[in-house]
């Protein structure tokens, strides 16, 4: 049976259609959910918070979206052990909502960065990256101004100890290359229960080799099992 993916849309979200396209391409049933809804559709297998500029990034990226009615439902959905994926602004919303640890700062060089970047799979023992192997390298677009992931030393130790660092930025050979100043070049993490995932890069924009890369397919496929 095809998987059901609910895609949350806030005012200012702009990647909901790309995300829908990506999951439909993988054979999923998709529904875009306006943030004023207070319930996740029944039988939803995965909730995706897509990229964009929810609430114009006012105050801090993701800070206001956290108060939308749908976020209470997303929190409950996650607490029940279901899968939630936050991409780019979605990752920012998840850290501001305390569903993921850490915080996002302005990119170290203060620029909005928009380009393809290589990523290394740091840990594949999770639902999201289950179709990949540790050390695998993918080429995925990044597009953000506030992607400089920060967590203090104690938090970082805890992320390491629980294998919560799932993706890091690297060059084509897998050597560390840090585009935005993120602690440990972190590009993506998961929560302790391994059901909430956040990453700054956009796998949904890497679904067709004619558009530069189809590496997003093997990432998102993890949710199909």
């Amino acid at each position: 049976m095809s998987k059901k993916v609910a895609i949350v849309q806030f005012p200012g979200t702009n990647c909901e259609l790309d995300t829908e396209y990506a999951f439909q391409k993988l054979g999923c049933e998709t529904e875009i959910i306006w943030h004023k809804n207070s319930e996740i559709p029944v039988d939803t297998d995965l909730v995706v918070i897509p990229g964009g500029f929810s609430y114009g990034d006012y105050l801090r990226s993701g800070a206001i979206a956290r108060f939308s009615p749908i976020m209470k439902a997303v929190k409950e959905f996650a607490e029940n052990g279901n899968n939630v994926l936050g991409i780019c602004n979605g990752f920012q919303v998840l850290v501001e909502s305390h569903l993921l640890e850490g915080a996002m700062k302005r990119n170290e060089d203060l620029h909005f960065i928009s380009k393809h970047h290589h990523l290394k799979v740091e840990n594949s023992e999770n639902r999201f990256l289950s179709k990949m192997g540790d050390g695998d390298i993918v080429n995925i677009p990044i597009a953000h101004a506030d992607g400089n992931y920060f967590i203090d030393e104690v938090g970082l130790e805890s992320l390491r100890a629980n294998n919560q660092i799932i993706l890091s930025y690297c060059d084509e050979n897998g050597d560390t290359q840090n585009p935005n100043g993120s602690v440990e070049s972190i590009a993506g993490i998961c929560n302790k229960n391994r059901n909430v995932f956040g990453l700054m890069p956009h796998p949904e924009r890497a679904m067709d080799s004619i558009l530069g890369s189809s590496d997003g397919v093997k990432m998102l496929e993890g949710f199909l099992d």
Partner: protein, 82 residues
């Protein structure tokens, strides 16, 4: 009652904007005058609180819950009786 909230990145968290402005001031010839630059955000609240203590306590709560991201930011609150 008025609350003036100043929010800055914590000491030890690199402030890229502050650093960039520091470099710019250096190149304007202020290198001997300026030893550090921090850039923050100021939020001014008009409050209905009855006392300064209430105003402070409420504003602190607002900072903890929304106005600052205490993972990376510190805040200072000034209450004015106006």
């Amino acid at each position: 009652m008025k609350a003036i909230v100043n929010i800055y990145l914590k000491a030890g968290v690199l402030d890229s904007q502050g650093k960039a402005v520091h470099h710019a001031l250096d190149s304007l010839g202020f290198q001997d005058s300026v030893s550090d630059v921090r850039i923050g955000r100021q939020i001014v609240l008009k409050l209905r609180s009855g006392s300064k203590d209430d105003a402070k306590a409420e504003t602190e709560k607002m900072c903890e819950e929304l106005l600052a991201n205490t993972v990376i930011e510190d805040y200072e609150i000034e209450i004015l009786d106006v």
